[in-house]
Amino acid sequence: MSFDIQIIRKDFPILSRKVNGYPLVYLDNAATSQKPQQVIDAIVDYYSNYNANIHRGVHSLSQEATDAYEAARHKIQNHFNAKEAFEIIFTAGTTHGINLVANGFASLLNKGDEIIVSVLEHHSNIVPWQMLCEKTGAVLRVIPMNEEGELLMDKYAKLLSDKTKLVFVNHISNALGTINPIEEIIEKAHSVGAAVLIDGAQSCSHIKPNLQELNVDFYVASAHKMCGPTGVGILYMKEEWGNKLPPYQGGGEMIAEVSFEKTTYAGLPHKFEAGTPNICGGIAFGVAIDYLNAIGFEAIETHENELLTYATKKLLEIEGLKIYGTGQKTSVISFNIEGLHPYDIGTIVDKLGIAVRTGHHCAQPIMDFYKIPGTVRASFAFYNTLEEVDALVEAVKKAKTMLS
C-alpha cells in the first residue's frame, strides 16, 4: 500500500470536524491517537453481532468472541515478535502492566536490592517503583540526562551492580520524544543479572520492536496510542518470568481449581488475567495493529520524520522559541517561547482549533531539570500534514503577538 496522506485522513472521521470554528489540527498524539473507521467499525461489530463472555461458555456466540479475542492476541504476538502467544498478557493499559510487574517483584526483592529508572520517566513509571521500594526496602536509582535530553549511559553503567534487580526505562520519552538506546540498556542490565522492563507507550506507534531480538524481559504498551481503543494494553512477559511472578489479582479466569482449602492458578496468560477482560478492546486492538501494518511502519516513520524536520525548522524561525530535547527523537516537539507561559500559548492556539498539550506532561523531574513550569508539546502522527504544521506555526506566531 502506498502512502497517500489524503486517503489515510479519510479513514479518521474526527479529523474532518471543526473546533472553535476552525478545522481541527490534532497535534496531541503523544497523549492519545485518533481512531480509524476500521477500528470504530470493529467495536460496533462486536457489540452488534457477537458480544459474549469468553473462555467459559459452550455456546456458539461465546466461542466466536473467544476466537476473535485469541486471534487478536496472536496478531499482537506477531506484531511485537514474541515467542509465544501466552507471553502476551492483556491489561487495561501501560500503567496497569507496570503495576502488575511491580507487584510481582514485591515478593522477589530484598532490603538493599536496587531498582534503576531514568529521569525521563512518566509519573506512572516512577510511582509504582517508589511504592515497591517502600514495601520491600529496595532502593531506587535514577539515570540522569544531559541538556539535550539524552540519558547519560556512562552514569548508567556506574549505577549497575549485583544489587540491581530491575531496570525500567521508557523506549521514548513522552515529554521530549527522546529515543533511548534500549538495546544497550538491556544488554548492560543483563550482564549484572538484572531484569528489564521497557515502557513502549510512546514508541509503539512509531517503532515496531522485535521483542525476541531485544531479549527484553518485560514490555508494556497501550492500544490507544496505536489507533486502538482506550482501556486496553499489553504486558509482554518472557515465559520464565511469567512462571516466576505470583498472580496480581484474584478472580475468575485466573484459576485452575478452587476449593476453600487450596486454589491452583491457571497457566499463562490467564494467571494474570483475572475477571472478564476488555474483550471488545482486545479485538479492536488487533484491528488497529492490522491497520498500522497495512500502512507500514517504515512509511509511517518516513512521513513523521518529514513532519518533525519541517516543524522544527519552521518553529525555530520564531524568535525566542526554544525546543527541549534535541537528541535522537521521534515526532514530538516540546517548546517554550521566552517570557511566555506555556499555558497561555496553549490557550490561544486551542482557540484557533489546534490541539497541543501544555504543562509538565506527567514528567516533573524533566521540568525541574530545565527549571521551567512546563512546555507546549506538539506531537505528530502519520495522519498529520505539512499544512497542519503551517497552521501550528501561524497559531504560535499569533499567540506570541497577542501575549507579548
Binding site: L340, H341, D344, K351, M402, L403
Partner: protein, 141 residues
C-alpha cells in the same frame, strides 16, 4: 460600587468586542494592569491548587472590607484574576458570599468556568468566597 454594578460595567466593556481574539486581548491588557504584589506575599500557602499556571491570592481586611491582591505567572490567568479582583475586592464579606458569577458567562469566558479546566477560575472564586466566609465568621464570633 456594588458587586452587581461592577459586573454590569464589565459586561458593557466586553460587549464592545466582536470576537474572541479582541476579548482575549482585552483580558491580557487587564492582566498586565493588575497591580504587582509583593514578592514576599507569593508564598506556597497562598497558591491556589488546580491551576496549570501558578496563582497566588492574598487577602486582608480594611475598614470591614476585604482587599484581594493576586498574581500569576501566566498572563491569561492574570487577566482572569484581574476581572475577579475588580469584582470582589474592596467589598464586604457578606456581599462576596451573596454574589453570583453569571457575569462570567456574559463576558464570554464561560469556557473557563468548567471545573476541569486547568486554569482554576472556579478554584479562584471558591478561594475568594472561602476568605469571605472566614472573615465573616471571625467578625461574628
Amino acid at each position: 460600587m456594588t458587586i452587581e454594578a461592577i459586573q454590569e460595567e464589565l459586561i458593557d466593556e466586553f460587549s464592545m468586542f466582536d470576537d474572541w481574539m479582541q476579548r482575549y486581548e482585552y483580558m491580557i491588557d487587564l492582566g498586565k494592569s493588575l497591580p504587582l504584589i509583593d514578592e514576599e506575599l507569593k508564598t506556597d500557602d497562598k497558591l491556589i491548587k488546580g491551576c496549570q499556571s501558578k496563582v497566588w491570592l492574598n487577602s486582608e481586611m480594611k475598614n470591614d472590607k476585604i482587599i484581594f491582591t493576586a498574581d500569576s505567572d501566566a498572563i491569561i490567568t492574570k487577566g482572569i484574576i484581574a476581572v475577579l479582583v475588580r469584582v470582589f475586592s474592596n467589598q464586604e464579606p457578606q456581599a462576596i458570599l451573596d454574589a453570583d458569577t453569571d457575569f462570567i458567562d456574559e463576558i464570554g469566558l464561560k469556557e473557563h468556568l468548567s471545573p476541569t479546566r486547568a486554569n482554576g477560575l472556579v478554584s479562584m472564586i471558591k478561594q475568594m468566597k472561602m476568605y469571605a466566609l472566614a472573615y465573616q465568621t471571625q467578625a461574628n464570633s
